[in-house]
Symmetry: C2
């Protein structure tokens, strides 16, 4: 250790460690007014203030403890844990699967940024293992920084970049799986984009982020990264997935199919949910549990030769959420402004006010392709049941079954760049390419 | 009975009843290839085909049985149940609470239409009790037809009409509660609208609809209407609510606060959910269970003198859902087209691409008021945490806490018609008028 075991601590934190003859990697018991906890002293985060001690708990979570709240601290028996940059980089262990980690921004693990979920520009494998030492038990991880953006700033052009980078890693034949670290705001849009841009891929591609930055107690950064890496390295399936904290307990990560996942909470760790289907898998206690009841069709790891890379997107797609008082002029403007596709988020089974019909009809007549999804989020549009739906069908609106509106928007941008005729475009939108349309399951009463 | 007990049956249905000496109101046991069930023969629905028999099960649900599937049918002991227009109309029972039922379309109970949830134009109290005889145990219901529209066709002008009609019923002093039957597509928009248009009301106003029409097995029409009526008649709270089937069992209706409810499934009976809060109450086995843990503040039934009716709405509000590839030109167009307010559904904690900032700034400079909600549905926007949020705040975007985007859109339309200055407008949007902003609850991990 270059800093003599101080792990970047200074000020009050360093004083506390020094006075108790402790250093980073020691397992300690800490008593505060809240109680007692045990764990390993972790290196200080660059962004943390001086008067915090960071303890890695047995659950895998890091917690920050204010030094002035520490009533007593004592070393527990046991070997010093390797947590620093001297941690062994397991690159040499040829028995471990190899995983490429492509970062689209920020920092990871102890260096994960809540908002970007990405790796800072200078990240080395050594730093990665120092932050999440458990990774060394499961994979040889090669990190690479591709982008450095908050995910709300990512655009279709970035999806193209990411898709090409993933394809390059796949084509190298060097990797058992790929992890893409990503901010959580638009991670589900990107996972849908990669699901269409990268078809028939031979290995899993797993997007991962964090809802809580790792300098906060209850951060999900390390647990998510570990779960994503284990799934990418070892699951016997191919395709694009999102791995994020699952609902119930601290150590379960849910792996969602890339086209069927949505961020459903602004701040909870289990914000990401599969829509209308069960997640593809859970990673519990670092073991993969494929979910047999998932209604998605997954293919096993296969030979890469058939991979189809179509990384381009065309943004001339407008997603319109309908609401009472909605002005049909918005539809007219879309047609005039050069949009080629409108994706409606209608009400209920896929409806909009009948006053919109003339504007939709005119848009269709000028060549705009109009599709229907539901703002209900869950469930399937069904436009043959009632007048409004039938009228919309008759003027050319195409219902998209239970495709999530976000996925439908991304798919339309992708199809617009890759399919020529409008007939082929509609067929493509209705073709189930990557589980974006789920099997029709009887609705449970 | 004007039809001699045939209850509108004809053809195969009538033949079956005649040949077994059965008539409407008899309790019977029916055997089909699927098994055996027992219940009361109900009048035939006008819309049902001739070869169906309608049986009301003990659970309260009606089920349709194809006559050619009936292997045997036999009368069970017991008095004939009053199901027809001869059912006693309990108008004379002065001990029962009085409820006004305002219909906004279609048909109710045996005559409920799935899509409108409303009452057909000729509905009499007698017909109502013939469809849902249990109502007679709980309230004297006065039905009145106000509108006859699918709810996706309802506009802010309709909210005004409904609000005025509700106010008229309240001002009459005749009613313990009011039920508004409504199509489910936009019921949550209307409930939000009434929550702002009708403040400080002395009694409960309960919107109700049905996800399944009553000529289908597992219809929720009668159960929902009964639950709504019981709550309107007897709950010791005032305000605007939505009563719809709850998740777990057949006979539980959830009562949601009007500003905190959303239709979250296209077809399930339990499609309506409270967002970020617990429902205000459950009606289980026709008993009201107020939910103590609900984070909403409800007021008890009070004296009507303070009621504030502000029924007008102004539609110059645009709800914009952000997505990657979103063209800032949409914002420019909104400003040019005379919109006064933009409600964003941003990503995560309340973000849009930084490329939108100049267009938003120009819109704000020309007097458009811009607010932020989250497309995550659940959770609270928080724009002070990261650069993107802080930048948006600095150019004048106002975050709306955990207000649902649909509620925010309705509230803006209401405030635009009722508040003069833009300063007052923003204050009004941020004021918690009708539980549209929930108390800040620590996020559970």
């Amino acid at each position: 250790m270059t800093d003599g075991g101080s792990g970047g601590y200074r000020g009050a934190g360093l004083d506390l460690l020094s006075s108790h003859h402790l250093s980073v990697g020691d397992t300690v018991s800490v008593t505060t007014s809240d109680g007692e906890l045990a764990g390993v002293i972790m290196p200080r985060y660059e962004s943390a203030s001086d008067n915090y001690l960071v303890i890695k708990l047995k659950s895998g979570y890091n917690t920050g403890i204010k030094t002035d709240r520490v009533k007593s601290i004592s070393k527990l028996p046991g070997e010093k844990i390797k947590t620093s940059s001297t941690a062994k980089v397991p690159d040499e262990d040829k028995s471990l699967p190899r995983v490429a980690l492509i970062s689209t921004g920020g920092t990871i693990a102890s260096k994960i940024d809540y908002r970007t979920g990405g790796v800072h520009a200078a990240l080395s494998a050594a730093e990665l293992y120092s932050s999440v030492p458990e990774l060394a038990n499961y994979a040889r991880v090669d990190p690479e920084v591709l982008l450095s953006e908050y995910s709300e700033n990512l655009k279709p052009e970035h999806w193209t970049l990411i898709a090409k980078k993933v394809a390059e890693k796949i084509e190298s034949g060097d990797y058992n799986g790929i992890v893409v670290s990503h901010g959580t705001d638009t991670m589900h849009y990107t996972s849908a984009a990669l699901s269409f841009a990268l078809q028939n891929i031979p290995i899993p591609v797993v997007l991962v982020g964090a809802q809580r930055s790792s300098d906060r107690p209850s951060s999900d950064a390390a647990v998510n990264l570990l779960g994503a890496t284990i799934f990418a390295a070892r699951a016997n399936v191919s395709g694009v997935f999102v791995a994020m904290h699952a609902g119930t307990s601290d150590d379960v990560v849910a792996v969602h199919v890339g086209t069927r996942v949505r961020k459903n909470h602004t701040s909870r760790r289990d914000a990401f949910e599969s829509i209308d289907v069960t997640p593809a898998a859970l990673v519990r206690n670092n073991e993969i549990e494929m979910q047999k009841e998932s209604q998605t069709k997954l293919t096993a790891r296969t030979n890469a030769k058939g991979m189809k890379l179509q990384p381009d997107f065309d943004s001339r797609v407008m997603l319109i959420k309908y609401y009472p008082g909605f002005d049909p002029g918005i539809i007219e403007n879309a047609a005039k402004s050069g949009y080629k596709v409108i994706i409606f988020e209608g009400t209920g089974l896929g409806h909009v006010n009948k006053e919109c019909f003339p504007a939709i009809q005119r848009a269709v007549e000028t060549g705009v392709m109009v599709f229907m999804t539901s703002q209900c989020i869950w469930g399937r549009v069904s436009m043959k049941v009632y007048d409004t739906g039938r009228d919309l069908l008759s003027i050319g609106v195409v219902p998209l079954s239970d495709m999530i509106s976000e996925t439908a928007t991304v798919k339309a941008m992708w199809a617009l760049a890759n399919v020529q005729s409008s007939k082929d475009f509609k067929d493509t939108m209705l073709e189930n390419i990557s589980n974006e349309i789920s099997e029709s399951i009887p609705v449970s009463d």
